[in-house]
């Protein structure tokens, strides 16, 4: 019975992704262009920093390969959210704002997961490809620290997903926060686009706890050079707290959901 239930659940998630992917590639030219431009965008961003590191060689102990690794990790983590859980974030905020969560509430499935997995962004594939290129090109990844790399990617992806659940759920509490959520997310993303080595003291402490962008942009580089179990446990703990908090924030908000009458469909 349990095996059958697992099988049907797995079949559902697989078909949901298949459908979301078909919808994403329904307009083929737009699909290909978005992937290509995302790769170009990520690589262009490196040009400026290449010039900086070419001049100064190291910044607080970081060289260009560290920065490439950090960018690769951020982009790969971002792509996991983008490809598999893009329903979190703006899409969720709009569903709540326009009262379109009804379709998900009418399905006998986990509402949060169903919403998260109902949307994929083709540009995420571009991020994923450029992330893998950067991680490989950094030269920091080897057999000895490959497990640490996977752990860091999972932490980064979970933080992106959690943050987007939190920001998407803001509309449950006060109306018309979609733009605000989007801006806050890009502010968070901004913090991960500078070399983690420039932060120190109280700012670094905040970035490793309250505003945990440091778990994506600071600690992983350090861990690739020298693995420290305590730091990995800290990353895991903070990530689980952020994930748990965002899930609670969503379900608490769901009780306030007011639906709506906007005419529309699953775009």
């Amino acid at each position: 019975m349990v095996a059958k239930s697992r099988h049907t659940t797995f079949r559902f998630w697989l078909r949901l992704y298949k459908t979301a992917f078909k919808q994403a590639i329904a307009l083929k030219a737009s699909f290909v262009l978005r992937i290509l431009f995302m790769i170009a965008n990520n690589l262009i961003m490196l040009v400026g920093w290449f010039a900086v590191f070419n001049t100064f060689k190291t910044i607080n102990g970081w060289d260009f390969s560290d920065f490439m690794f950090m960018t690769g990790l951020v982009v790969t983590s971002f792509s996991i959210w983008s490809i598999f859980f893009r329903g979190a974030g703006i899409y969720m905020a709009r569903l709540i704002e326009y009262g379109e969560l009804d379709n998900y509430l009418l399905a006998p499935k986990n509402i949060l997961l169903h919403t998260l997995c109902s949307r994929i962004d083709p540009a995420g594939l571009g991020d994923f490809l450029s992330g893998i290129i950067l991680l490989t090109a950094s030269g920091l990844v080897g057999f000895n620290n490959f497990g640490v790399l996977l752990f860091c990617i999972m932490v980064g992806a979970t933080l992106f997903i959690s943050l987007n659940i939190f920001l998407g759920s803001l509309n449950f509490y006060t109306a018309d926060n979609t733009d605000l959520g989007e801006r806050l997310f890009y502010s968070f993303l901004n913090l991960t686009s500078y070399p983690g080595c420039i932060y120190s003291g109280a700012v670094k402490l905040i970035l490793l706890s309250l505003l945990p962008t440091g778990l994506i942009s600071i600690l992983p580089v350090e861990q690739m050079h020298k693995t420290d179990t305590l730091s990995l446990l800290w990353m895991l703990l903070v990530t689980l707290i952020v994930l748990g908090g965002s899930i609670l924030f969503f379900y608490n908000g769901l009780k306030r959901y007011a639906s709506g009458n906007k005419i529309g469909g699953k775009l």
Partner: protein, 299 residues
Amino acid sequence: MSQDIIVDNLSKTFFVKDQTGTKEVNAVKSVSFQIETGTCVAFIGPNGAGKSTTIKMLTSILFPSGGSAQILGLNPWKERRQLMYRIGAVFGQRSQLWYHLPARCSFDLIASIYDIPDKEARIRTTDLIHRFDLKKLIDKPVRSLSLGERMRCEIVASLIHEPKVLFLDEPTIGLDVEAKGLIRELLSDQVRQNGTTILMTSHDTGDIEHLCQRVLMINHGRVILDTTVTEMKQKYLPHQEISIIYDDGSEQIIRISSDQSVNKTIRTLIGNKNIRNLTVANPPLEDIIRSLYKKDKVV
């Protein structure tokens, strides 16, 4: 006969913010009713009466502020998942179909949502496609379907898991006469063949006359009438129209109120004249409903 839907003192209050502060809006106030298995009930009322809010509470989309409800013996807010396997819902203004994909993709996904094995899903979908005459539409992207075609697909999507109770919120909104007729026919078959219980909101009196046995009228968040369609037509007749064609070719049309005697009026009108034709017509259902909205509290 068992009761599929039991609603007891259900209420819903929204807190709406405007320039003057937060206001309390009682959208539904102590609504109670029961619906027997296999019946089709029209849930009608003017805009803002509380129809959609009630349906959204019964389908677990909204939490109530008070009262209780049981659908097929299940509590919509505590047993949401079990209930969803057994009920279906169509909101005329909403779509459960994926816009850029053919409806077939949405049907396949919906079958997975309800854990229906592939083989079984194929049989059910094929049957519904045949019954709803969707063969030519099923592989076209939903965005290219007309409203009527899309609505037929929406109804099929809500029937794939063979729900025992179907909630329809304005299923014929915006459709032309032909599309409306087809959907009514198909829903009527569904009730007759499968014993599905339907609670339906509609502003179209044709839906009520063709599909429903019973009418629940709601206004200002309260049930103001609960009767059969036949009784509503007879008991709440606001007026009747007497039309007389005399032998000399002249015509006379007169409208009398429901408390006036038809017999006495005709005698007075005719007098000693000879008549060629005489008809006494009831007003359209729309007029009856409009007069009830005006009277408001009738029960």
